[in-house]
């Protein structure tokens, strides 16, 4: 079981962000402990991705605080998030299609030679190592990622997120474009990373997957947090009810 007595790895407190008068995220608080997977659920437009983008630095929150290891941090852009070891796998994967796998894996954090030139050979060697672990069938190291299959692209995006000693991993619908086998691969990976003590935010539409993979589920509707529940204490129907009705089930509403 996850130990929730210490300081949370990440705490987002009272986060708000609006776009042109519409409150996309309205005073939402969520926390995440080491070795924990927290699922974020909700309809399209519920504000899951927006909330998480405040943490990954893609958006700037209008109000609220973010704490990492109990210390408040200021995340203005993706670089800031990365310095706090917060890594994100975006729904769009955010790969540069014209570059190859290793260029994408190291994008923004290239290995350089003593003279300051990018060391392609060293980066490709590292890429081969990590891909050997994540996706042993991966072969196309010199092709632009536009030439890769959905699953292969996904594994490049995952490799990029886990390679740099992430402590917090944000996964935005990581299995949306994958077949059953690759989905299982992602599930295995999530379990392995959790054992290593990472904290994971998992955005997913699939209630079964969330029930299976997550420790807690946070449900959002219309930008507001409906509630956070331990998945062991609720049924799938309870979670569905929260998503659809926007209310915590009676037996949990203490």
């Amino acid at each position: 079981m996850v130990d929730r007595t210490g300081t949370p790895l990440v705490e987002m407190r009272d986060i708000s962000i609006s776009f042109g008068g519409i409150k996309a995220v309205d005073h939402v608080s969520v926390d995440l402990y080491p070795g924990e997977v927290v699922g974020l659920l909700g309809h399209n437009g519920a504000g899951k991705s927006t909330l998480i983008k405040c943490l990954s630095g893609a958006y700037r929150k209008d109000a609220g605080q973010i704490f990492v290891d109990g210390k408040e941090v200021d995340i203005q852009n993706p670089r800031d998030a990365r310095t706090h070891n917060i890594e994100t796998i975006y729904q769009t994967l955010a790969l540069a299609d014209n570059l190859d796998a290793s260029a994408n894996l190291f994008l923004g954090r290239e290995i350089t030679t003593p003279l300051g030139f990018v060391d392609d050979a060293a980066m490709e060697a590292e890429t081969r190592k990590i891909m050997g672990r994540l996706n042993p069938n991966f072969r196309k190291f010199n092709a632009p990622v536009s030439a890769l299959s959905g699953g292969q692209r996904q594994s490049v995006a995952i490799a990029r997120a886990v390679y740099f000693n992430a402590r917090v991993l944000i996964m935005d619908e990581p299995t949306a474009a994958l077949g059953p086998q690759e989905t299982q691969m992602v599930a295995d990976l999530i379990n392995e990373l959790r054992k290593q003590g990472l904290g994971i935010f998992l955005i997913d539409h699939d209630v079964h997957a969330v029930k299976r993979l997550c420790d807690r589920a946070a449900v959002m509707k219309n930008g507001e947090l409906v509630g956070v529940v331990k998945v062991d204490e609720v049924t799938e129907d309870d979670i569905l009810a929260m998503i659809i009705l926007g209310k915590k089930p009676e037996h949990l509403a203490a």
């Binding site: 993706p78 014209n98 050979a121």
Partner: protein, 474 residues
């Protein structure tokens, strides 16, 4: 794990081009260039490929080619720069005024002082870089489309140049400055050979050190003979060009004047080759540096990543705004460098210098395979593109094609190059492109050569059309 996977990497039969791993697009451009050279050479009884014309062609290409390498970065990041010709004019005006008016008038430097050329060049390079950076800032930070910023820039800098000089032609420019113009500054025969041999040796070393780096990490490499062919090709290209520019003889009259200036008499039977012009050397250096930047630095990596997907580049922590400033600053710097070459070649600064260069530069980059949708482009492609355009232009002038037709052809070639590129990349366009050519080419031949050739072309086209149809290509 890797052992079980080995059978998948069984060596399969590879074609020659596969083994050499040469870009097919580059191969196409080289083929097109070769066709142009051979055709004009036949039409001019070999004059087109004479040492003298190749020498001239190379110095005429330098100015546009230098700017085209910068335009590759601009277009790769999904921007455009319409102001390069005007910016060249402003930089040229700044340099001309620095050496002919400002330094002599305000600092009292005598005309011909050794410091004049370096100070003027530095002033021009500074002006170009700053103006470029300012335009980049408007594009990157204030998010004005580059098309608008540089369209405004075209009007502004063209007329700033006019204002600076009062519209006058400023010249003759400083003698040291003129060394960058081409024929007035060459390395000489010995110097050119030394440079050529060193450059060829470095090219061979680069090919094999890249191979060593791959072997060290146990990556697959091409067969040794393929590397050898590639290295030998580079070396032959460099040394062949040196041999040609060395073969271009300095005219006797000029030699006699030079000897007289030194108080000597021209010995009987004395000859001297020009050798490599400094301006071409400059282009060579720019090409090498820009290629290194594109392939071997973080800046280059970020330029291509941003062009491929601006959002993901931003999410990967790349500061794309500042990157835009850098890209336009590089473009401005290269405009200034081109201004040195262009004004030195003319030996003066004239008000219309660089007019329409923006279009030639963009055309060179595009013919060279730079995609306007961003993320794709090579430095050598842009230089080859500039060379193809200049060859067409001067070849047609030598053959005696009327001036309006020269420009019509260059325009058509630009569109054609992009059409071929799209047909190469997008399979669904291929049949339409093929049909377009089968109908269009006989018509073109009719306009150019009359009905007899057009009839032959039409028959060939119909035959090809049926053949393509049977193969399912139409």
């Amino acid at each position: 794990m890797s052992d079980t996977a080995r059978p998948a990497e069984q060596p399969r039969r590879r074609s020659l081009i596969d083994s050499l791993e040469i870009d097919t697009r580059l191969l196409g451009m080289i083929a097109a260039f070769a066709v142009i050279c051979i055709a004009f050479s036949v039409m001019t009884d070999g004059r087109f490929l004479s040492a003298r014309n190749i020498f001239n062609l190379s110095i005429q290409t330098v100015s546009v080619a230098i700017m085209a390498t910068g335009m590759v970065f601009v277009i790769v990041t999904r921007h455009i720069d319409l102001s390069v010709g005007a910016l060249l004019a402003t930089c040229s005006a700044v340099m001309a005024m620095t050496q002919k008016a400002w330094l002599p008038d305000y600092l009292g430097l005598e005309l011909g002082h050794w410091a004049i050329a370096p100070v003027a060049i530095i002033a021009g390079l500074l002006a170009g870089t700053l103006i470029g950076a300012a335009q980049g800032w408007l594009v990157g930070y204030l998010t004005i489309p580059a098309f608008i910023v540089t369209l405004g820039g075209l009007l502004i800098w063209r007329n700033v140049a006019w204002y600076l000089t009062g519209g006058q032609t400023i010249g003759p420019l400083d003698e040291n400055f003129q060394l960058f113009g081409g024929i007035n500054g060459t390395l000489g025969v010995t110097g050119s050979w030394v440079f050529g041999i060193v450059a060829a040796a470095v090219a061979v070393w680069i090919v094999f050190s890249a191979r060593r780096a791959k072997l060290r990490h146990e990556f697959p490499v091409k067969p040794l003979w393929a590397e050898g062919v590639l290295a030998a090709g580079f070396a032959a290209l460099i040394l062949g060009f040196i041999a040609i520019v060395n073969a271009y003889q300095v005219p006797l009259g000029r030699l006699r004047r030079e000897f007289e200036a030194r108080g000597e008499v021209l010995p009987e039977g004395y000859t001297e080759g020009y050798g490599l012009p400094y301006s071409v050397l400059l282009l060579f250096v720019v090409a090498v540096v820009m290629t290194m930047v594109a392939r071997k630095t973080r800046l280059g990596r970020y330029i291509f990543a941003t062009g491929g997907n601006p959002d993901s580049a931003e999410l990967s922590g790349i500061n794309t705004r500042f990157l835009t400033v850098k890209v336009f600053a590089i473009m401005g710097f290269l405009c200034a460098l081109s201004a040195v070459v262009a004004s030195a070649r003319l030996t003066n600064h004239a008000n219309d210098i660089g007019t329409l260069d923006e279009l030639r530069v963009i055309a060179a980059a595009v013919i060279g395979g730079t995609a306007l949708s961003g993320g794709l482009g090579t430095i050598y492609g842009a230089i080859l593109g500039a060379l193809i355009m200049q060859s067409l232009q001067s070849g047609m002038a030598m053959v005696g094609v009327d001036a309006p037709f020269q420009n019509i052809v260059v325009g058509a070639v630009l569109v054609e190059a992009v059409l071929l590129d799209i047909a190469y990349r997008v399979p669904t366009v291929r049949p339409k492109a093929l049909l377009f050519h089968l109908i269009g080419l006989p018509i073109l031949i009719f306009v150019a050569f009359g009905w007899l050739f057009a009839l032959i072309a039409a028959i060939v086209a119909v035959a090809l059309g049926f053949a393509a149809r049977q193969k399912g290509m139409l």
